[in-house]
Assembly symmetry: C2
Homo-oligomer: 707 residues x 2
Amino acid sequence: MNMLLIAIACGVIAVLYGIFTSRQVLASSPGNQRMIEVAGAIQEGAGAYLRRQYTAIAIVGAVVAVVIFFFLGGLSAAAFLVGAILSGAAGFIGMNISVRSNVRTAEAARTSLQRGLTVAFRAGAITGMLVAGLALLAIAGLFWYLIGPAGFAPESREVITALTALALGASLVSIFARLGGGIFTKAADVGADLVGKVEAGIPEDDPRNPAVIADNVGDNVGDCAGMAADLFETYVVTVGITMVMVALLVGAGAQLLPLMTLPLLIGGVCIITSIIGTYMVRLGAKGSIMGALYKGFWTATGLAVPAIFGAAWYALGGDLDQVISTTDGTSFPAINLVWTSFIGLAVTALIVWITEYYTGTNYRPVQSIAKASQTGHGTNIIQGLAISLESTALPTIVIIAGLISSYQLAGFLGVAFAASAMLALAGMVVALDAYGPVTDNAGGIAEMAGLEDEVRHRTDALDAVGNTTKAVTKGYAIGSAGLAALVLFGAYTADLREFGDEIGVTANLDVLFSLSNPYVIVGLLLGALLPYLFGAMGMTAVGRAGGAVVEEVRGQFRDNPGIMDGTVRPNYARTVDLVTKAAIKEMIVPSLLPVLAPIVVYFVIGAVGGKENGLAAVGALLLGVIVSGLFVAISMTSGGGAWDNAKKYIEDGNYGGKGSEAHKAAVTGDTVGDPYKDTAGPAVNPMIKITNIVALLLLAALAGGAH
Amino acid sequence: MNMLLIAIACGVIAVLYGIFTSRQVLASSPGNQRMIEVAGAIQEGAGAYLRRQYTAIAIVGAVVAVVIFFFLGGLSAAAFLVGAILSGAAGFIGMNISVRSNVRTAEAARTSLQRGLTVAFRAGAITGMLVAGLALLAIAGLFWYLIGPAGFAPESREVITALTALALGASLVSIFARLGGGIFTKAADVGADLVGKVEAGIPEDDPRNPAVIADNVGDNVGDCAGMAADLFETYVVTVGITMVMVALLVGAGAQLLPLMTLPLLIGGVCIITSIIGTYMVRLGAKGSIMGALYKGFWTATGLAVPAIFGAAWYALGGDLDQVISTTDGTSFPAINLVWTSFIGLAVTALIVWITEYYTGTNYRPVQSIAKASQTGHGTNIIQGLAISLESTALPTIVIIAGLISSYQLAGFLGVAFAASAMLALAGMVVALDAYGPVTDNAGGIAEMAGLEDEVRHRTDALDAVGNTTKAVTKGYAIGSAGLAALVLFGAYTADLREFGDEIGVTANLDVLFSLSNPYVIVGLLLGALLPYLFGAMGMTAVGRAGGAVVEEVRGQFRDNPGIMDGTVRPNYARTVDLVTKAAIKEMIVPSLLPVLAPIVVYFVIGAVGGKENGLAAVGALLLGVIVSGLFVAISMTSGGGAWDNAKKYIEDGNYGGKGSEAHKAAVTGDTVGDPYKDTAGPAVNPMIKITNIVALLLLAALAGGAH
């Protein structure tokens, strides 16, 4: 119980860090009147988006809560709500801080680059620590309640189901935030660019463009609120399911409680190392912004090594040689769980490095796309697609190596601990990501408020690094989602093994789950289809919503010629409202896909091939969606990032620079990459996990129905 | 034995049809002097390509034959060579006919549309019937030799390995023809367009363009020789492995020989229905060319129903109620194999219909891409990618429905018979496909020889239909490859079950192949990676080879200003030679990927997790490559076809027509779609099968080594 309280304390520290730092940030100057005006419009737009979006989520959430209450009982419904509300809170607060820090970053950049960096990064760090802190509090608090006041045994069905329901709550918010946010941000971006840059011939972030505020709101919607919800979910899912795996595989005994609490403790100590890391973000002698951010990241990662060791040592009463035996027949010394946690850290570091290679302007992939832009739009796209396909290889191999080595050390439990350790750094990673939209907005505000060129150069420099950190975070998010999903899949089979009799499964599970079972092949194919269909829906949605923005902006220009003269202020709020409505409308159908797929497959295949084959097909579906989704998501996010930076590489003066034919081709590539990397690709993460979680809850409902 | 001789006779009839029809086609007039000259250049280029390409294949083939001889013995090496040589022959003869019929089609089109259609379709039908006929002769002849003169029992290891080695021979030619051909055709196309249309501002098929002949050769290289080799391979693999499955699952007994011969007999009777079909291709009252071609296809398919029933009735001695019991525990009446064959026909028809929906100008998908072209290059590509992702859904669901229903009727044997029936129509389908390059070339010759506008309109009309038939055939090719690969995977597990003890596998196969085994997950991930990596390599290869063509053409223009004046003939042969060399160089590394992957995975995973887990990972790798490859290939071929026809739809006068901004965007989409649909996508088919065949031969080698 002590360990649990320590974990809860670490969560509280993260929240306190958030409160303390947000006071610091908000205390700095918001700049001159014009800046405050522009920022006010963005804040207002963000507020309008958040209200509408969270109202929609609340309605869906309430319906789902009732369904859960009906099938799984009040405890699970409450856990679901806790997950949903805290996930929503992390995104909501983070985004509110973000749209208030943007103008303060612009103002601070008037003093010096270091000042601008400090404000922007602290703003990101607030979101980061809130994500990690609230996620940890959600799981640790729920677990404390379940095994304390509620009096359940840690390995009981009730605890497992409640933790899964908590994860579903987080997932639901996550898929809406990711997909709705992704559609919003890219519809606004594409719409603003098409009418503004292409038709009207006015620059980006020009205040005459009625979609410019929506575009700036969109940056926060996608990379702040969206990513926060995404990693909050992955965090809750991974740590929660690792605890479930311990319960399923270790079973009642003296080791159970320490091992179930250990992932929470690891999360807790890594929050502390992350907070220390945030204070290391400082420009060095060379003035490299990326270097400053990496200093923070590497500090957090480096300190995590002794911290995790210490946590394990403390949790297991100083005896790391004790043998842990699991019900699936493996046994290993406890120290191996420390090693697998280190594997998780190594996977994180390698994926960060690989993603930077594929999306950074210093390396072959991005440069090859820039080079191909010289021969036109077509060759830019061909090379970009080739890179996006290629970029899947190394991360997959790293994940496979992590999977094999952690499995060799400690079976599926080892894989779960590796995934948990990977997620323990989420606070720091979200900080790097949420830094992005703040600097992006700061640049926009500097432009719209007509600040000095020097300031614009500083915000541009901060923003350029933001592009890389956003890409890197996406690589981390999908890599961790992949590992988390594998753990979820492991939980599905472990659950069936443990509780199969309650569901009425009597067949040998190995025969049922054998690749020779055609229903397994069918499940794999259907699972593999989901990310494709989901990606297609996401891309089409951006097209449709972007088209609506184009119509709206054209209409404003037509009805009010004063806008182009600069004499009349365009109606920013109406555009924001339109994009919000469009995004919410478009996100509903694709979101249903992962929720309904396992249920429909279970009933349809069950009707054709019998209940047991239905469950086998669902199991294979889970693996199919992971395997296929990993590739779809990595190729989209890395490919999109590479296209983006190929444009930047040309703008830096290569192959003719800005305005050249190569640049035009690169702009096309960037436009294509946008929905790839900001809508469809990242939304695949929660999709993969939601499919798995729904399947787990399906098992729980079937087991409950059989009682 | 009688049945076997009937099948052989049908194969001979197909070859006789080819000889008879090619005499007919070659007897028609090759047109005026200028036309003969142009066609001569194309023939010369094609000859140069074939010589160099088949020399390269012969060298690799000889090395592989030696390896096979060493590991699997002389019989398998001989079977391998038969497969390789006959596959090569089908492509070689087909392409030679094709480059002689193009000019005759152009000449015939001067008389009437019907005459042009007849010559072009007959040319395609020659290739089609040669593919089906030679493939059937290869398997039937080898089987006859093995169980007759050589005296092996039909279900013996020797027969199984020899049939698999035959398939490998066909596969090897297929992957080289597909990949080398795909790189050649698109490098020439992209290169010709970039310098010709874009830089020099001369129209397509302008005789002043030094790459114009290479471009025309390329059409034949990809859609005639490439597709012929691809479907020859799928035919041999599917029918051969269906026989192997019968041997593994039915075992010695009275039913064995009839059931092993039945797939051959089905192939034989469908050749006859296909030949009848070719005579039904005739313009109706409405003058619809597509309608005329479909008349032939539907006749062949419709007649196949009674023909297959009759074949089964005859093969099983008139008793279709007899119960067939397989070693995997299923038993069913023999009539069920007739039903599953009909399922194969239904899958074929549905996939043809779905592919036409996704790539035809009359339907939503293509029109949506054309519409998106109005807002620029970027939106054209985004919509095209969305369609390419979406287009995977319906074919997958059809394949799943076919898989489940045929499995329900007759277990894995049912799936194998469904796949065999699907392939039985290969002759007719290849005819439709090989028609494409003939008409494409005819248009080019009409342009270059300066024929009347009216002729050009007729060849354009023939060519437009060719685009659709080429797309439809690709859908059929990947769909059948997917089913064939599933049968191959079934053979891998059946082989392990039957001969596991020879290899030293003692573990329970179900436990080994269970989704809960992490090495299975690793295999699935690695398998899923292969099509991505392979696709990336193919796309990059086109870029590189296309760049070389650009350099070459620029060089010719620079060194010889007379070319642009039209006073000097460009050096066509040098460009053809350059593309040939580049294509051959580029095809080697990607081709090795599927050959080496199963072997490397077996040894690496075997070293880490033990021999049995190595075999489990290889099994999962096979399924991973099928699952992932199916989606990659369908999305690429359908997406590419849709982009192509979106351009055509705009050229037909929609959204501003030729020369409009929308048209420019659509040209970009077409350029991107080219390597998608003609290089990377189709080459995935042989890649999937080669991985599976190598794995089967690996088992044979391991079993041999353990003797």
